[in-house]
């Protein structure tokens, strides 16, 4: 225990003496959180529409005016040729095309199922999904009006209007910041934790002090524990700063317990730091460590569903997320903050993170060789 004290003392001195790292550790995440929270948006604004109206009936015009009136859509052009419209999509000037065939108006009057063709630029799958949803909701809204006016003329049998209504629970206005920000918090503590730990032991290898350590009777676990604890504390502080920003600057809901978040962060960070230390013990230069850490970071992050919906990944991709600690922590932190989930709701995910922590730390201790 006394030995651990001296090791910790040395690590903290080194961290706080590194004048170039300290601002990076604390300023970068704050900046990241503020910038990304605004930039990484799923909100739809200004979807550019090209409308091909071969019908030119009052019904098609009515629907077009609905799109015109919506704040989400800008009707860029109204034309008669689908080919012309597609050219605009190729030029990336148009996000979606709506095609009214020449029998559209007639079909509405006859009530035998009018159809509109919607062509969406789906290069970005997640925004394409959103265009689709928004366009559908405008059309649905129009549908209701048509049915209602039909009902008026038809005295006799009532027309059954099937209406589906949505209630978005926990995030009623579908705001993106409450959804994105918890995920960005996870990203931030992960980047700091993984990179600091991955670069640390290997740095002692580079400057040669690791040999001096290896020739002493220090136990492997003592050495790695002394590396892990300071970074755990830094991670906690980062998380604290992030939560404060989330609460006071972005005013996102805090339905659950902050202590529960910290409990999960404790388990999670031990896993991430153990993984970082494992990278560090297996590499010989900081450059190698950096590349390997970056490799896993990118995979974990892109698979996690923070920036792209997991649902649009292939099946095997979704299954890979069973092994993705970032995905679990993002899920948990969203549950706690936005839904107010308690410990029993997240116990499965926490157990999995616990297993990840135990495995990564034990492999790191095992793979750290005092003897070559």
């Amino acid at each position: 225990m006394r030995i651990l004290k001296y090791l910790l003392q040395k690590e903290f001195l080194q961290i706080f003496r590194n004048k170039s790292m300290l601002p990076i550790i604390f300023a970068m995440p704050i900046l990241q959180l503020c910038v990304l929270s605004f930039a990484a948006t799923y909100d739809m604004k200004n979807t550019n529409l090209y409308i091909v109206d071969k019908d030119l009936s009052s019904h098609s015009r009515e629907l077009i005016s609905k799109f015109n009136g919506s704040p989400f859509f800008t009707v860029k052009e109204i034309g008669f040729s689908v080919e012309e419209a597609e050219k605009e999509i190729y030029k990336d000037k148009i996000d979606a095309i709506l095609v009214f065939n020449d029998d559209f108006g007639k079909s509405v009057d006859l009530k035998n199922g009018a159809s509109i063709q919607v062509l969406i630029n789906a290069i970005n799958a997640s925004s394409a999904g959103l265009y689709n949803a928004y366009i559908s909701s405008v059309i649905q809204d129009y549908n209701r009006n048509v049915s209602a006016s039909i009902k008026e003329v038809n005295t006799g049998t009532p027309v059954h209007i099937v209406e589906s209504s949505y209630l978005h629970q926990f995030n009623p206005e579908m705001k993106y910041i409450p959804y994105m920000l918890p995920g960005l918090l996870v990203l931030l503590v992960t980047v700091i934790g993984l990179f600091l730990s991955a670069m640390n032991v290997v740095r002692e290898k580079e400057i040669g002090t690791i040999e001096q350590i290896n020739v002493t009777p220090i136990k492997k676990y003592q050495f790695l524990l002394a590396k892990l604890i300071p970074f755990l504390l830094i991670g906690f502080i980062e998380l604290g700063i992030g939560l404060l920003i989330a609460a006071f600057l972005f005013k996102i809901p805090f339905l659950g317990s902050v202590w529960l978040i910290y409990l999960v962060a404790f388990v999670y960070l031990i896993g991430i730091l153990g993984f970082g230390l494992l990278i560090s013990t297996q590499t010989n230069t900081q450059q190698q460590a950096m590349f390997i850490a970056w490799f896993f970071m990118v995979i974990f992050l892109l698979m996690s569903g923070l920036f792209t919906p997991v649902e649009s990944m292939p099946d095997w991709g979704q299954k890979l997320n069973y092994f993705n600690p970032i995905a679990y922590f993002i899920k948990i932190i969203r549950m706690i903050l936005l839904k107010g989930s308690g410990f029993m709701d997240i116990i499965k995910e926490v157990l999995i993170l616990g297993i990840f922590a135990i495995v990564s730390v034990s492999i790191a201790v095992n793979r750290y060789r005092k003897v070559a």
């Binding site: 001296y6 290896n214 020739v215 003897v371």
Partner: protein
């Protein structure tokens, strides 16, 4: 020099170390007595560092019987480490810590108490005339001071043996001479010194030297005896005679 030649603190018998097809240490056998200054000489790449790492418990031998400070290098690694000091070729103090912080750290991890660390650190700094630099960072010190300090830190926990791997590389002759004064002093206190070097003038300072060529020990005796055997004026000539022999064999 008062040497208790009965007690052998390093015993090496048929030490071999292979890296694939390459034999770095080819059947080394030697013993070192307590308090002795043992010079381990050889050209670059002769296998000195490989051997020293095995003796320090930093590397596994391929075969051979080796005991250091009475402990077996295979089975009693941790006890062994408690009883040795090591100063590597690469500079081994933390540059971003101060002189005292480095001393405290190494003292602490060998389990010395706070009081002992403080009093020994004071003595040490006084001896090295470094009291004024106590709170200076290592990075701000000249190389010669760093090396003297690194040596003092390596013997701070009073080990039985200290291993020095080319401790005086890159410093001027005056500083090297001062460094050897520290080595003599440690030897007088009963610490056995195992030192590798490729400065042949330093070989003269050793009680006994071994000369390694291509992974084998080609000569092992006192400097005086070696000069006599090889009919040489100084150790440089002894070394060149052996090195030439190696080239002839090839």
């Amino acid at each position: 020099m008062d040497m208790n030649s009965d007690v052998k603190v390093i015993k090496v018998k048929n030490l071999c170390k292979k890296f694939g097809d390459f034999t770095a240490n080819d059947n080394l056998s030697f013993e070192v007595s307590k308090g002795e200054i043992f010079g381990f000489l050889g050209a670059n790449g002769a296998g000195k560092t490989t051997a020293i790492k095995i003796l320090c418990g930093l590397s596994y031998p391929s075969s051979g019987e080796i005991s250091v400070a009475g402990f077996d290098v295979y089975k009693q690694r941790e006890q062994l480490k408690r009883n040795i000091g090591y100063m590597s070729q690469k500079f081994s103090l933390y540059e971003d810590l101060t002189v005292f912080e480095n001393i405290r750290f190494y003292g602490g991890i060998y389990g010395l108490s706070k009081e002992v660390i403080h009093s020994k650190a004071d003595d040490l700094l006084k001896k090295l005339d470094l009291q004024h630099a106590r709170n200076k960072r290592i990075s701000s010190l000249p190389l010669g001071w760093k090396q003297k300090l690194a040596f003092s830190v390596a013997i701070f926990h009073d080990p039985e043996i200290v291993f020095l791997d080319e401790p005086t590389g890159g410093v001027d002759p005056v500083t090297r001479r001062q460094f050897w004064d520290l080595i003599y002093e440690a030897s007088r206190q009963g610490i056995t010194i195992f030192v590798t070097t490729h400065y042949m003038d330093e070989a003269e300072y050793c009680d006994r030297v071994s000369i390694m060529v291509d992974g084998k020990i080609e000569a092992l005796d006192t400097p005086a005896k070696l000069k006599e055997d090889f009919n040489a004026e100084d150790m440089d000539q002894v070394f060149l005679a052996l090195a030439r022999k190696a080239i002839n064999i090839e």
